[in-house]
């Protein structure tokens, strides 16, 4: 976003939709391109800030100087315990044989 600030093209939106496994209709595509450009234009403000010496923050704990618990005291005991019932989980799948999730055939023979 720093150099040139070229607008996102329809082709780029199509590419990103592809990466995200989204199918966009012919009507959706230009609308999304317009919205993305407006939002990215707003986001470009971040370039006003010099962050060359700032460590990126991924987690709130980093800001608090919270070190990960070295001895694993925040982890639960690694023991056998009851889990969610498999049958109940599989029952929610659109298609299942009770043991596996079924999907359309991937490999043609």
């Amino acid at each position: 976003m720093s150099e040139g600030n070229g607008a996102v093209t329809l082709e780029e939106v199509r590419h990103v939709a592809d990466l995200a496994n989204l199918e966009l209709t012919a009507e959706e595509l230009p609308r999304m391109a317009k919205d993305l450009n407006a939002i990215l234009g707003h986001i470009a403000q971040l370039n006003e800030l010099d962050t060359s010496t700032v460590e990126p923050m991924a987690q709130v704990g980093e800001a608090l100087g919270m070190a990960p618990a070295e001895a694993g005291e925040t982890l639960r005991v690694d023991g056998v315990r009851a889990s969610v019932d498999r049958g109940a989980v599989m029952a929610e799948a659109p298609e299942s044989d009770g043991r596996f999730f079924k999907v359309p055939k991937v490999i043609e023979r």
């Binding site: 209709t25 971040l46 800030l49 991924a58 709130v60 800001a63 929610e92 359309p104």
Partner: protein, 486 residues
């Protein structure tokens, strides 16, 4: 509230409800039934509930009533009717996250937050409407239709926890659960005139929360008073073996803490939150709140949070990036919708996601995928993470000088339905006073503080240090009690 009719349920506090049940003046079952009648009367207009859990509620109410009769131990929420935002799982009950892609999904387990409420005796009445996957500031992104603001039916209740705020405001539950990723508890609380609490990141377990942005998502309560919200928080907070991101930090007695005197506390007022965009009536309401705090013995100090104007752009990079990853799990394989048009695996993924996701969710997935894609990661995502560190440092430095910060929640009172739906950027800018606290991980809350001349509720935001909900609640209670309500 003229249109929906007055009801004493609109003013019933959690403390009153529990006391009545515990003393046997009303049974938990009758109280739940009364709420279902209220829902039947007004919710066709307001549309806060997506599902009712009558059987489960009545079974729980009977357990509470039996315990009352037997003189057995009674929890902090004994017999209190509550509602649950539809992004939290309730075993065997349709949980949609406001999305078509999860239509009909019945999760096989309870969210920890829900389990804790029930363990304390709460009666879960149903699941509450929200923006799809908690993405929105008006509740207009729900695939099941918008919620109306009970205080003005032509206005939005706020979002994304719009149903959770509206149900409490309209007497359809005594308290509720919402979630807040960039303001989704505080903003609807302000718009509907109820109390909403954003606990510190890690304070409340997220097991069973359908994830939107994992470094930001939090679960918190709505209630009609600060004291009630404190009781809810005390039940919800604390470590959970099912959520490794949940903190081990000790839980304070929030209900007792909220009652402590505020004399001597140092209150910060950040100048960056009182700029041009702030509505004059909201500014005046906050000034009245500050006068009240001064009269109660607090000292008021100007503080600076210099990176505030970068909070919205930072948030919309980080939140959408995380959402694009979290929402990849919705593909028609394991739960919810699968497109009928699914000839190949790839077509099944695409068509399911195309049919199942609404426009705003698609927009955010696209933006998030874009900022993470090859060649753009450093320029957007890494940059936003660096600015997030600066925004957090602003708060840490301010809290070296003050004990709590008081600010607006929103630039304006509740806006009209349909007013901002055509312009996503305008909608995002609604979050201008709420997202910085989300990025920094500190706690915050919205407390009702008067009304506009048109009768719309005004909320005041109180922000506290990481894990210092106790002080935040004290300040909130002082604002609530300082006579600022009309």
């Amino acid at each position: 509230m003229v249109e929906t009719g007055k009801s004493s349920l609109e003013r019933l506090t959690l403390a009153e409800a529990r006391a009545a049940v515990v003393a046997g003046r009303v049974s938990a079952a009758a109280l739940a039934e009364e709420h279902y009648e209220r829902i039947a009367a007004v919710d066709p207009e307001i549309h806060s509930y997506l599902a009712l859990t009558r059987e489960r509620a009545m079974a729980q109410a009977e357990r509470v009533d039996a315990a009352v009769k037997a003189g057995g131990p009674l929890g902090a929420l004994a017999g209190v009717p509550v509602g649950i935002k539809d992004v939290l799982t309730v075993k065997g009950v349709a949980t949609t996250a406001g999305s078509k892609i999860l239509e009909g999904y019945k999760p096989p387990y309870d969210a920890t937050a829900v389990a804790r409420l029930e363990a304390a005796g709460a009666v879960v009445l149903g699941k509450l409407n929200c923006d799809e996957f908690a993405m929105g500031s008006s509740n207009e992104n729900s695939a099941y239709g918008p919620v109306k603001n009970p205080r003005a039916l032509d206005r939005v209740p706020g979002g994304s926890s719009g149903g959770s705020a509206a149900a409490v405001a309209a007497g359809m539950c005594v308290a509720s659960l919402g979630t807040d990723t960039g303001g989704s508890i505080r903003q609807p609380a302000a718009f509907c005139g109820v109390v909403g609490v954003l606990p510190t990141y890690g304070r409340v377990s997220r097991y069973g929360l359908i994830a939107f942005a994992s470094s930001l998502d939090r679960v918190g309560p709505f209630a009609r008073s600060v004291e009630d919200a404190a009781v809810m928080l005390e039940v919800l907070a604390g470590p959970d073996v099912m959520d490794a991101t949940c903190s081990q930090e000790a839980v304070a007695g929030y209900a007792a803490e909220a009652k402590k005197d505020v004399a001597g506390l140092r209150i910060g007022v950040p100048e960056e939150y009182f700029g041009e965009g702030l509505n004059a009536e909201i500014r005046e309401a906050i000034e009245r709140a500050l006068d009240g705090l001064r009269a109660a013995g607090c000292s008021i100090h100007k503080v600076s949070l210099p990176h505030t104007r970068y909070a919205v752009p930072t948030y919309y990079v980080i939140a959408t990036a995380e959402a694009s990853s979290n929402l990849s799990r919705f593909d028609g394989v394991r739960f919810g919708l699968r497109s009928e048009d699914a000839g190949t695996l790839a077509a099944m993924f695409r068509n399911t996601r195309d049919e199942g996701f609404g426009a705003e969710v698609k927009r955010r997935i696209l933006l998030g995928t874009y900022v993470l894609s090859a060649g753009y990661y450093d320029a957007y995502y890494r940059k936003a993470q660096q600015v997030r560190a600066l925004l957090t440092r602003d708060f840490v430095q301010a809290f070296e000088k003050v004990d709590a910060i008081v600010a607006p929640v929103t630039p304006t009172a509740a806006f009209k339905l349909g007013e901002k739906t055509d312009d996503p950027l305008q909608m995002y800018l609604e979050d201008i006073y709420s997202v910085a606290a989300s990025l920094a991980g500190i706690c915050g809350m919205s407390v009702p503080c008067g009304e506009t001349a048109a009768g719309l509720p005004i909320g005041v935001q109180v922000l506290g240090k990481h894990f210092d909900e106790a002080t935040m609640l004290r300040v909130g209670a002082a604002i609530e009690g300082s006579g600022n309500r009309k």
